[in-house]
């Protein structure tokens, strides 16, 4: 019996029971559709978050004051150490030859006002390097000037939202902006980059770090952003940072160092695990569909007992009968898989229309896996009925009309 004959005969058998076949295809397609949709959602969430972290900067190392000795805990967000991280500490880091740039960061909240309008917002003190380290782009004007970090200067760069709210339909460049009781001249407006992890740069005012220290009356830094020279230099930079700070902090390495890689890696792992978990739960529906396939095939064998007896009498071997019934199960499952993938693709497109900013797509491997899994399910659950058919005693089978 040739392969095409096997499939054609199986197709004729399926066609003879179109209602039952379509129900089984439906069950299989629901399973496949849920697996593909959930995988797509999980995978998209993963790539979304990983992209967010990648857009923070390149070869980024973040230095936080304070150190938790236990593993697994969150790094302290605010220094809980007697020794603050200072501007001198930050500048000392530049001695490492693996470090390309540093941006000390000081953060606080203060009322900003201009032209009679006032709102509370986040003030970020930093240096000119912040632009490079955080990949910031400007809509107009320029960023903080390259000056010594200890020097304070009454200039500021504002985010899009601040510009729109304080300088309504007016030119912001060159205007005075009052922060607390100090005046800063607006020298630049940041390009809108939307919500990014941690800080919303649209709602921020950037001023020189020394000015921020004066404004908030504190010497300590919120954190230091470090850009390593290359990916391979990143880990050497981490060691250097540890050494330099230790030397400056009386032999204690009371800082926490986070590399961008480790953060991305952690999120990547968590979300991949989440995707797989969700997909496996959806996979249960595939197993259910598999049992349904087996049920339908068993009914099919029982109904066609005399036909099986006849085929044996006409010279069909056990192998040929197994092939016939497996082909039938495989075709049902493949039809279910194709329909399921179409339904999945359709639903994803629909979701994409609802949430255009979220990058949704079914990964190629998921499509392939869906097809393979359904086929495997069909074959595994089809084997039992097919063997049952092949093992039928032809004499008894023929006696049944």
């Amino acid at each position: 019996m040739t392969v095409s004959d096997t499939f054609f005969q199986a197709f004729l058998a399926i066609r003879a029971q179109i209602l039952r076949a379509s129900l089984i295809v439906l069950a299989m397609s629901i399973g496949i559709a849920s697996v593909t949709i959930l995988t797509a959602l999980g995978e998209s969430a993963r790539s979304y978050i990983v992209n967010e972290f990648q857009s923070l900067g390149t070869n980024l190392v973040i230095v936080l004051p304070g150190r938790t000795e236990t593993t697994g805990g969150q790094p302290p967000l605010f220094g809980e150490t007697p020794r603050d991280l200072t501007l001198d500490d930050a500048n000392a880091l530049l001695r490492s030859r693996y470090i390309a740039a540093i941006a000390p960061i000081n953060i606080g909240s203060a009322p900003v006002s201009a032209l009679g309008l006032e709102r509370e917002t986040t003030i970020l003190g930093s240096t000119a390097s912040l632009r490079r380290v955080r990949h910031l782009s400007l809509a107009e004007g320029r960023f903080l000037p390259e000056i010594e970090s200890e020097k304070s200067l009454p200039v500021c760069v504002i985010g899009q939202t601040i510009k729109n709210q304080i300088f309504i339909q007016q030119k912001a460049l060159g205007q005075w902006l009052r922060i607390n009781d100090r005046r800063f001249r607006v020298i630049g407006v940041l390009a809108s980059e939307g919500e990014s992890i941690g800080v919303d740069f649209d709602e921020i005012v950037v001023i020189p770090v020394a000015s921020a220290q004066a404004l908030f009356n504190t010497e300590s830094l919120f954190r230091i952003l470090v850009e390593a020279k290359s990916k391979s230099a990143m880990y050497k930079a981490v060691t250097d940072i540890g050494k330099i700070i230790k030397a400056r902090h009386e032999g204690e390495q009371d800082i926490t160092i986070i590399t961008q890689d480790s953060v991305i890696g952690a999120f990547d792992e968590i979300l991949t695990a989440l995707t797989l978990t969700v997909a496996s739960i959806a996979g249960i529906s595939l197993a259910v569909a598999g049992v349904l396939v087996m049920n339908v095939m068993l009914v099919s064998v029982a109904q066609r007992t005399s036909e099986i007896g006849l085929l044996k009498a006409l010279g069909a071997s056990e192998r040929q009968l197994i092939e016939l019934f497996l082909a039938e199960a495989a075709m049902l499952c493949l039809a279910g898989a194709v329909l399921g993938v179409l339904v999945g693709q359709f639903s994803i497109s629909f979701l994409q229309i609802l949430y255009p900013e979220f990058p949704l797509s079914i990964p190629g491997w998921a499509l392939l896996a869906a097809l393979l899994v359904s086929l495997t399910t069909g074959l595994i659950f089809g084997v039992l009925p097919a063997r049952k058919a092949a093992k039928l005693d032809p004499v008894l089978a023929l006696a049944k009309r």
Binding site: A313, L314, G315, S317
Partner: protein, 222 residues
């Protein structure tokens, strides 16, 4: 061609053993026309099933073309059936979802014959049983006599040496019954070994060799 030596066939029914065939010895040569007669439950169908290699004897030797077939595996038996034996049943056993032509085609599909040759041979077979205009009909659209003709066309499509018919007229009116018997006899005259099982002594007497079975034993032979 067929040699049965000391064939016994026992069935287990509950805790009782029923002997369906009791020491059968039979030699059948090519081209014979044999009728097997006997009352219900005498073992004639069991004998046919054993000759057809569908059933295995409990003990005894069965030589098919001088080859001992009692020890062959399923695949080998299927091949012998496919190439040497044609079946005609009392209840036709046509597959209801397939047309007459497609039913006739099945043995060739199982044998792996290519599509073109199949089409050609089906056309010839349909014509030879006088059903050219009914080839595309489903079994339910055919009369009993026509269905049995389709079954005969299917049984002979592989040009087997042996044609086994189990009550071929049992489900037909006497007129189509005679037609079917005449068709089978024509095939016998072309050299096919024909074994017919029947209740009907009238039909049975037409065969050159008549075997009567009672209680699993060959009662007498003519």
């Amino acid at each position: 061609m067929i040699q049965l030596k000391d064939i016994y066939r026992d069935f287990q029914v509950g805790d009782q053993t029923v002997r369906a065939l009791d020491n059968i010895n039979l030699n059948i040569s090519q081209g014979e026309y044999i009728s097997v007669m006997g009352p219900s439950g005498s073992g004639k169908s069991t004998l046919l099933n054993i000759i057809a290699l569908l059933d295995h004897p409990t003990s005894g030797q069965y030589l098919f073309n001088r080859q001992d077939v009692t020890k062959l595996d399923d695949n080998a038996l299927a091949k012998i059936r496919r190439e040497n034996i044609g079946f005609v049943f009392q209840f036709f056993h046509l597959i209801p979802r397939l047309t007459a032509a497609e039913n006739i085609e099945i043995p060739m599909i199982l044998a792996g014959i290519n599509r073109q040759e199949r089409q050609q041979r089906v056309m010839q077979a349909v014509a030879s049983v006088g059903l050219s205009d009914r080839a595309k009909h489903l079994p339910e659209q055919l009369s009993g006599g026509q269905r049995q003709r389709v079954a005969i066309a299917r049984a002979t499509i592989m040009r087997p040496a042996i044609l086994l018919a189990d009550e071929p007229t049992g489900n037909l009116d006497s007129h189509s019954g005679i037609e079917i018997i005449e068709l089978l006899e024509t095939l016998n005259k072309q050299g096919m070994l024909l074994i017919i099982i029947t209740h009907d002594h009238h039909l049975g007497k037409r065969a050159q060799r008549q075997i009567h079975i009672v209680d699993g034993k060959i009662n007498f032979e003519k």
